[in-house]
């Protein structure tokens, strides 16, 4: 498992251009975010110009990785070693982060012009910049200190962004989220303390060599796991997720559901594969909770009255699919083939969900903005007036349901194959039940929106591009199923 995360020695030194590309991916988002706060822009063109160099830097890193394989950086700062590494998974997640972040940034000006939220809106840009930078750092960090700093920076930026709408409900939910995420990070820190105290190492690659299974590794894994599960909204600890999304701005919700919770999950899988190689209890527990999450999240989404609650609860269920895969990734005595299939399916499902959920939140935001109502009943009659927004919602939900040829389908196909090979029939059943429940709550939206009887009043026209960006994201999630070999070839590990 360790080699899949690129915790190996690199063959080649990074070129000087690679150094600059890395610096640009990490620093430019914050820099442009500060500029955004200074000019408080509400036009698309400057945002697009700011996104361009960051995306170019990401592309450059991809080319470098394909030429040189695994890239490593290491610095000594005041006696502390900071190490970064860029492997296939890292570059893949980095690209997803940059493109989803760019889509959210391009969506924002239109949203701001239509809702006109006042002075607080200028702080959205620096927070978004810090969030993207921290996420990029998480994908490449290779020691516990950098991971901790990036995780906390990301968490605080996320809380700040969710609060910006300024409604009392948002503030109450945000305060709860803030306190929980801070306590979660303390649990993580205590786990790090245990690791540092026992093995005296913070570097992940060295840790992978020295860690041996035993009570210390278990306790440290439990502490880190609890903290990260709280941040990732994994099933029994997901209570804060829905209220937080209820009154947040659309691009913020899209970024949060697509990327922020995934980053905690990424760290969780990485640390557990170092601390708990070949144990069966903890991954099994997570898998059982994941099955409950699929059913519970699906039922809550099915009974939801407001569109945003539906979309947010569906995130809980979709995270359940990822939790069910844990025993295949981390468990003992898994044959190489099902493990490789599960590994590919896991990340493909995660990326597909990130793209589709961002698109879905944008489509839902467009529907709510246009109709002026946030309840499902308020959607009545929108099929005639807002066909494009509904179409986007539909394409995104095709990925969530896992119908061919979307990324969700390919991911579930890989996962089902791995589960059938290892004869995990309960997990197979959970996956199928989850698909049915997803279909149930998605079609409930369409039932309301195709209601032609409802008297319709006023529709707010949307800014140009708001639908287009969401459509691009939804189509990306849809088409990723057909082009799955591109991300999967990157996922093969640290070696080309």
């Amino acid at each position: 498992m360790i080699w899949r995360f690129g915790l190996l020695n690199a063959t080649f030194e990074p070129l000087w251009l690679t150094h600059w590309a890395l610096a640009a991916t990490l620093v430019l988002p914050i820099l442009f975010g500060l500029l955004g706060a200074l000019f408080s822009t509400r036009r698309v063109l400057p945002v697009a110009l700011a996104c361009l160099p960051i995306l170019l830097a990401g592309g450059l890193l991809l080319i470098d990785y394909q030429q040189a394989g695994l890239l490593r950086w290491q610095w000594q700062v005041a006696g502390v070693t900071i190490s970064l590494r860029l492997n296939g998974l890292g570059i893949l997640m980095l690209l997803v982060t940059q493109w989803v972040g760019a889509a959210a940034a391009l969506y924002t000006p239109g949203h701001l012009r239509l809702t006109n939220p006042g002075k607080l809106s200028r702080w959205l840009w620096p927070l978004m910049g810090v969030l993207i930078s921290a996420l990029s750092l998480i994908w490449v960090a290779a020691d516990l200190l950098t991971l901790y700093a990036a995780l906390e920076l990301m968490g605080l930026a996320a809380v700040g962004m969710l609060l910006l709408s300024g409604k009392p409900a948002a503030l109450v939910a945000g305060m709860r989220y803030l306190l929980l995420t801070l306590v979660g990070s303390l649990a993580y820190l205590l786990g790090v303390a245990l690791v540092l105290g026992y093995w005296g190492q913070l570097d992940l690659q060295t840790l992978a060599d020295v860690v041996e299974p035993g009570p210390v590794a278990w306790v440290a894994a439990a502490l880190m796991g609890a903290g990260l599960a709280l941040k990732a909204a994994l099933f029994p600890l997901h209570g804060w997720l829905t209220p937080v999304h209820e009154s947040a701005w659309t691009p913020v919700s899209a970024l949060h559901a697509a990327l922020v919770i995934k980053a905690s999950l990424f760290i969780l899988v990485m640390l557990w594969s170092i601390l708990l190689p070949g144990t069966s209890f903890a991954p099994q527990l997570v898998a059982w909770l994941g099955m409950l999450a699929i059913v519970w999240g699906g039922l809550v989404a099915w009974r939801a009255n407001s569109l945003k609650t539906l979309v947010a609860s569906s995130t809980v269920a979709q995270l359940g699919y990822l939790m069910v895969v844990f025993p295949l990734l981390l468990g003992p005595d898994i044959a190489p083939l099902p493990q490789a299939l599960a590994w590919q399916g896991f990340w493909l499902q995660l990326i597909g969900h990130a793209l589709a959920k961002a698109a879905m939140f944008m489509a839902a935001g467009n529907l709510i903005l246009a109709t002026g109502e946030s309840s499902l009943k308020g959607l009545a009659g929108s099929s005639r007036r807002l066909p494009l927004s509904l179409l986007i919602f539909g394409i995104a939900s095709v990925t969530l349901m896992g119908l061919p040829p979307s990324a969700g389908f390919t991911a579930k196909w890989l996962l089902l194959q791995a589960m059938v090979m290892t004869q995990q029939w309960v997990a197979v059943a959970a996956l199928l039940v989850g698909t049915l429940l997803t279909a149930a709550y998605v079609f409930r939206v369409f039932r309301y929106s195709f209601d032609e009887q409802a008297p319709r009043h006023h529709y707010q026209p949307l800014a140009p591009g708001m639908d287009l960006i969401a459509l691009c994201l939804a189509l990306a999630a849809f088409g990723l199923g057909l082009l799955a070999h591109l991300p999967l070839s990157l996922l093969h590990g640290g070696v080309v």
Binding site: A78, L145, G166, L186, A187, L202, V219, A220, A226
Partner: protein
């Protein structure tokens, strides 16, 4: 010399524990905030005793000055009645009358217990000598007691400021535990510094939020004797 050093460590540990306990359970919020400042000062002293003068400096700047200021800001000490004329600060606002919550009681107790259990496990395996002679490291012992109490307080308090205080004290005790388990090597110092900055930023965000929420509460339910609001009725 060594005996006096251990004695000093014991005294600091006792003071830390006492300040933390009173701070966590005092319902008078202003007094609790003052006690938090005292607690943070003792933390700085503890870092000095553990041989980390830079950490002591960071603690004084971030923990005492900045985080302390956040709490006083949340209580509105700096701007009595200036931002909102209708908002009339008196002794009432400094007092937390809310009953401690019993909803989700079982879950919270379970979570707090799980936390204490994992912390106990951590101590048991990394510092096995603590089991036989717990008084050998008085600071670590104090931090265990404080962490357990602060987790309980965090789970049961309903007032947001008190929860924020409990988080900060929990954080400090975790930092102390980290230093006790890993020693004050550079890596541990860097982790603690990052943790202190995060705790300060979190407290700042929390204080701003508490202020906003107070304003909303106040706008939503004006008291009958309020001058400005009363006229509109």
């Amino acid at each position: 010399m060594i005996a006096s050093f251990v004695l000093l460590e014991g005294v600091v540990a006792l003071c830390l524990g006492a300040a933390a306990l009173v701070c966590l359970f005092d319902r008078h919020l202003l007094r609790a905030s003052c006690l938090f400042v005292v607690f943070a000062l003792f933390m700085a002293l503890a870092w000095l005793l553990l041989g980390a003068p830079w950490l002591a400096l960071v603690e004084v700047v971030l923990g005492v000055v900045f985080t302390g200021a956040c709490f006083f800001y949340a209580l509105g000490v700096f701007s009595p009645g200036t931002t909102y004329p209708a908002y009339n600060i008196d002794a009432m606002n400094y007092y937390d009358y809310s009953r401690d919550s019993c909803s989700h009681g079982v879950t919270r107790v379970l979570l707090a217990l799980a936390w204490c259990l994992m912390m106990g496990g951590a101590i048991r395996y990394v510092m096995p000598e603590m089991v036989y002679s717990p008084t050998e490291h008085p600071l670590v012992l104090a931090s265990i007691v404080i962490a357990a109490t602060a987790m309980g307080a965090f789970a049961f308090h309903r007032h947001l400021l008190r929860r924020l205080l409990a988080f900060n004290i929990l954080g400090s005790s975790v930092f102390l535990l980290l230093a006790g388990m890993a020693g004050t090597v550079e890596g541990a110092q860097a982790l603690i510094s990052v943790g202190l900055s995060i705790a300060w930023l979190g407290s700042l965000l929390g204080a701003l939020l508490i202020r906003y929420l107070l304003m909303f509460d106040h706008d939503a339910s004006p008291r009958p004797d309020d001058g400005v609001r009363g006229q509109s009725q």
